[in-house]
Symmetry: D2
Subunit: 179 residues, 4 copies
């Protein structure tokens, strides 16, 4: 789970204070899996971002980020999607706040299997159809749209972080298209 909020979060909490809080309070996150669908709502493609990690390796990722103070969950979904896919992505934010699952990341990798060395994050996960033109913005190198069977192939799975790989499969299961 990357944090792309450095420029914004200072309005709410200084970086230093944020570090302190991260060690003492669960942080609210969203996970958004961008998808293309056909006219019947069937997921045809999943959007994965390509980023260079701190270790210099290229990783594929879904959209993830914090919910800020005063921001609704749906505001956060829109903000993170537009930040990562550009302002013309036209995401269709779900009508219901019911996530398809809740992912719990812990510094201790044994609690849920979802590991975040920096923090305890409680992440609401949504599948979000995206209808417009997408351009990988920010620090992403690329954005690829892959079919469900491609996403779960060993090659692609190996390029996703273990956490994101699992969330994507669970999202596909929820949408009835996990092979």
């Amino acid at each position: 789970m990357s944090d792309y909020d450095t420029e914004t979060q200072s309005n709410w909490l200084s970086d230093e204070d944020m570090e302190t809080v991260r060690g003492r309070l669960p942080i609210v996150y969203i996970n958004a899996i961008p998808v293309r669908t056909d006219d019947l709502g069937v997921v045809t493609h999943v959007g994965l971002l390509l980023r260079i990690g701190p270790d210099g390796a290229a990783n594929r990722e879904i959209v993830a980020g914090r919910v800020m103070y005063g921001e609704r969950v749906r505001d956060a979904i829109l903000r993170h999607l537009e930040k990562d896919l550009g302002p013309l992505a036209l995401p269709r934010i779900p009508t219901s706040a019911q996530p398809f699952t809740v992912i719990e990341y812990f510094p201790n990798p044994d609690i849920t299997g979802f590991h975040d060395p920096r923090q305890h994050a409680v992440s609401l996960a949504y599948v979000v159809p995206v209808e417009g033109d997408c351009v990988p913005s920010q620090d992403a190198l690329d954005l690829v749209w892959l079919r469900p069977d491609e996403v779960v192939s060993p090659t692609v799975a190996a390029e996703l972080s273990p956490g994101h790989e699992k969330v994507v499969r669970w999202a596909l299961a929820h949408c009835g298209c996990l092979p």
Copy 2:
């Protein structure tokens, strides 16, 4: 729950056979609540059809109908929405087949409180954002878009069938906008 399928169902089962089966087997239905949303997915309006019932009274209704043999649930949602709202309604069929609830209609009104004198119907209920131009087609007199607070007002509630009135409120609860 009205049945608008007379012309199509004969391809699958004659009207007479359908009547026989209706008394002996649960029938698969869908309920679709058409909604308008803002850019954040918040439901701003609910679409209600106006129809003249067999007793000559005007009733407000949501979209409802059978799932035909060989048809996926999402095909049925699209077919019924286009039949009632016209071919330019541009419904956004959900990516997941998980309904927000399942409504069970019985000839005996005491089992679930949902009454259908003709049949035992098991109806999968979905909220469906509609983005295009809607024209009430078929036998509907009118289509109105009402705010959540208007939909649950005593006046409008009294014009909905008791079954549909309840489904609409449960849909609004699911979307976080039942007042």
Copy 3:
């Protein structure tokens, strides 16, 4: 998807009539995945039945069966679970009728990937914690309780029908324990 209803369904529809209807109308089913949980609701084991198929081969299966005329979905879940796991299984039927997914079986294997040569079935799928003593009743040879990681192992996966194998994985994804 097996049909264990031969003795009961005659009350509603003769076997012959049922065969005719099966070719012309979608049939309502339930899929129930029996699970053992710890005190925190975490799925620790999945219950799989062992049955001898028409071809003489042993297959592992989850609980599945028709919803009868006049029967609520929750009545059907309880009836099928007690039929397969015995009267002392003490299943905890969900408070909500919202299934975790809807599985659509077709005679044509290409529509959804879920294949049932006999019929078009629309199956509401639920995870059901079972707290009591279970004895495989009816025609089942055995009942085994396997950990999530065992269920998805190649050996066990190969013993499940392709349809049931997928439903079990999707159920584990919904419960946050699909490895």
Copy 4:
């Protein structure tokens, strides 16, 4: 939304620090609606706690509280239920982390209609069947079990806080028993 965590939270964050953070970061909460069900999972009664508010007035409430650092959501559900209903309540924590809805409380009452003057809280809401003996513990005066139709009656509704009253109705809608 009351905070019953004063004794525990000091292990994680001092009261003073917590106050500071509350003004700058959304706080993760759970809402748990304790219910009694029949053998088929139908909700027969909802458990409501009676508490004396800061203004001296008696209020009915559902179970609510913070998720602590390092604690899973399901740990928090169990902890708060046992704290409020006693150690013999035997709650059946859901197998899935998918809440039926997410409630967002803000110091500004106009954003979602859910108001918490102290903080921005993101609350995951669950319906939890409770099978054991319940005794109102802690600061609660009483615990009553009311039928769904009683819970939504004007008298009881007026005794619930506006936020909890709405959450309870949404929970009943999810369970198919909102009249």
